[in-house]
Amino acid sequence: MSSLQGYVDRRVLLILQDGRAIVGTMAGYDQKSNVVLSDSKERVYSIDEGVEEIPLGLYLVKGDMVVLIGEIDEVLDQAVDLATVRAEPIMPIRY
């Protein structure tokens, strides 16, 4: 999958079909868009509280579960104080 080229070793945001948002360093991927993320953390969004980051470590996510992979601008990302961000969690995929 040539489309994931250029994301390796970059900090990425991965959105899963169940609505989870995981940030991590893309260590590898394959044709089926299975991905390996290192130093990954789940970002848990809620309306009543700021964003909570839960460390997850080394993760292998199946391609079936992938919705979106975005390259994170680290300067932009670090400028945001996650504790002040309130938002609904991302919706799960509905077919």
Partner: protein
């Protein structure tokens, strides 16, 4: 680095597997294939709500039902080192036809011996487990 290389390197390592239905399995990886079908031993199975759990001696999980696997952090460096070593060996062989003392048949087919060893453990396991059909079919393949 390919996801499957990581999974292959995770043999005998502890891992957490979450299925698409939210159930989780904690255990040690016995074996895996290119579909990400896996077998685990000494497993703790937990329901999606986390309310109930079971201990299983062994289990087989079909790859297509898996959401993600969590593996030990140390594995990443292990795989990278292994790949570098394999690359260096590859260069060495191409450079000179003489492979040297360590480059015999066993190092050219590193998977063959492991595979055989694993298959023999299956055969002993099949007689002792309840999931007999699964194990037997698997070993056969």
């Amino acid at each position: 680095m390919l996801p499957l290389s990581l999974l292959n390197a995770a043999q005998n390592k502890p891992m957490l597997v979450e299925l698409k239905n939210g159930e989780t399995f904690n255990g040690h990886l016995v074996n895996c294939d290119n579909f990400m079908n896996i077998t685990l031993r000494e497993v703790y199975q937990t329901t999606a709500d986390g309310e109930r759990f079971w201990k299983l001696k062994e289990c087989y999980i079909r790859g297509s039902t898996i959401k993600y696997l969590r593996v030990p952090d140390t594995l990443l460096d292990a795989v990278k080192d292994e790949q570098n070593r394999a690359r260096d060996i590859g260069r060495g062989t191409r450079g000179a036809h003489n492979v040297g003392g360590r480059g015999g048949a066993s190092s050219q087919h590193p998977n063959f011996t492991t595979l055989r060893a694993l298959l023999s453990t299956y055969r002993t396991r099949t007689t002792t487990t309840r999931a007999r059909g699964t194990w037997r079919a698997y070993a056969w393949w």
